[in-house]
Point group: C2
């Protein structure tokens, strides 16, 4: 695909992709993405006050949902979608009927590669998702399916077919994705190093997933992409991507699916306040010391053959083992079950597929 | 160190590093490495016919050993050092008294970074070895200790100290390190992609290690860096680095040490014959299908607190579990024990430290 024009590239799989954007403001940033996003359908999830108008630049194909839609479409299950936190993006995952999701934040712009060329992030994510992953053995030349590279000497041939790719985690130039304490200590640090690699995160290894530049195969792993209870009314924020990433990774490992990180880069413009971040994060900073050992030791029974089944089983283990860390995890475990109920209601049969067409018209 | 001159950089730790070079020819390639290697001591291990003279460019500080030295210094244990195979390099690891080893092949030249600057491979390896590793959790911005980067949001603070680094595996521009079958299929493929990253290979993940551009902390992991029985009289070749890498990685994982891969690049010039390689490799190609599951399931008891003890225990497991794959692995398991005996004899006390001074004078 490397030789294709932007227009050709953007047309790839356009019937199979939804771009999900959580926002609290006018999505003017889309203007910068027009050459790449215009052929695709956007699902914009308005965070916060639903009475505030959100302006979308002309000639985009989109549906815009707000809190009223969450309440209307989910009814008593609406509480599983966070309010005043970008984790509301997962409402878009729920409503989508497409095979692939690309989700991006409204402070993310088009980055350039070292040659000065604008990076089509969505195209790279689709390449990552459409080629296999190699979670069982590390390839020292990184992605063996990339043009001009391969598996190196000593890589078992039986593993060279790889496994299906569940998720593609992209990175950020400019503002690094640091926590509040690191932002406070290194206020001026910027990421300006372009690492020209995509790699599979090995089986059994966890990573810190960020939702601001992320794509996944909704059919394979969608039900595990729940971004948790964050923001208003919750004791924690800014752990939505982490939570989803840890859940998604242990489930991908169990199901024999791959997770990649690396290219594509986006340009991350916003310096969020380290003081505000610290307030949102501080419980997470100590909870994660217990969460990581928990996720490292999660074992799912072999009867769990789908992402849904795995997620329900995981919710039980969260309640059993993390409930004692804080009452919050009991509530979160219940919300995980609610999320799967909502997923199954909206996705298992045709009757609720009017959800999308009931959304506000573009 | 990034701002230092080549001369300053080359002087780093010069009393603590040996450069080990296996060769069958005049080591003229050293002329290209002079700005970087001259301050260091070289251990050149002549492979093959000891009567053939090896010319070393002037003004290098070196010892040259050949098969006669192997026989003289190891006596009845000499059989553990391979003949007519670059795996004889590990004889240099045995004789060294230094803390760090850098080993490089004689067809490896100085590579350039994308700015056109010559890469001081040894300096980068020392940076890698002197900074910690992070085997327990993946950092999406790669090496968190590198200037201008850090741990990203969601990385547990308790893991940010990292662990000591046992080994640094460098990569190759130009000729990729492919096996015979891949060389046959892709005769023209070259690696010209410079990936500006160093990363820790996660705990529990194996990788294909190549000995042609490799550094390690001899005190921490030296006894596990045995390159096996390869070449003349053996049913297999070109698996020396693989064998050492798999053994070294499971032992590093057990001991809580880190293994890195990535920078530095060297320029790999030689296209070895794919037909010859296939002949050397073909048993390895099917054996590795059994070796990888074996190494993935190795478990070492907690009494194994040193690389030596781990290696002896591993030799027992090799004999018990791989002996049935082929008689060769019984012989290899015995050679692993012989190697440790030789290591302990030459390294545990002072009496054999005359080994080096008995070597042919520079």
């Amino acid at each position: 695909m490397s030789g294709s024009t932007a227009a050709e590239a953007a047309a790839i799989l356009k019937e199979e992709v939804d771009i999900v954007i959580p926002t609290i403001r006018n999505v003017d940033f889309l203007e910068k993405w027009r050459p790449f996003f215009q052929p695709y359908h956007l699902i914009i999830v308005q965070d916060g006050d639903p009475s505030k108008p959100i302006k979308v630049p002309p000639r985009f194909n989109y549906h815009l949902y707000n809190r009223n839609d969450v309440n209307r479409l989910l009814g008593p299950r609406a509480h599983c979608i966070s309010f005043k936190d970008s984790s509301c993006r997962c409402f878009g995952f729920l409503l989508s009927k497409k095979k692939y999701i690309f989700t991006i934040d409204d402070d993310c712009f088009v980055a350039k590669d070292p040659s000065g060329k604008e990076i089509n992030a969505l195209e790279q994510h689709l390449k990552n998702l459409l080629s296999p992953s190699t979670p069982f053995f590390f390839n020292t030349l990184y992605d063996p399916y990339r043009e001009g590279t391969d598996f190196v000497r000593g890589y078992p041939f039986s593993l060279r077919e790889g496994v299906p790719t569940a998720a593609s985690h992209g990175l950020w130039l400019n503002m690094p994705d640091y926590d509040g304490p690191t932002q406070l200590v290194k206020p001026l640090e910027r990421n300006n190093r372009y690492v020209d690699a995509v790699m599979t995160i090995p089986k059994g290894t966890l990573f810190p997933m960020c939702g601001m530049n992320l794509a996944f195969n909704r059919e394979l792993i969608g039900p595990a992409m729940y971004f948790g209870l964050m923001g208003e009314g919750q004791p924690i924020g800014r752990y939505d991507g982490m939570w989803a990433g840890w859940c998604m990774k242990v489930i991908s490992d169990h199901l024999g699916l791959g997770v990649k990180t690396g290219l594509p880069y986006i340009w991350h413009s916003k310096a969020s306040s380290p003081f505000v971040n610290l307030k949102k994060e501080y419980k997470g900073i100590y909870w994660q010391e217990e969460l990581i050992p928990f996720f490292q030791s999660v074992s799912l029974p072999k009867e769990c053959t789908t992402a849904q089944k795995c997620y329900i089983e995981l919710s039980k283990q969260v309640k059993a083992k993390l409930g004692k860390v804080d009452e919050y995890f009991n509530k979160l475990a219940d919300a995980m079950v609610t999320w799967i109920e909502a997923w199954e209601e909206l996705n298992s049969s045709g009757e609720k597929s009017e959800a999308l067409s009931n959304g506000p018209a573009k």
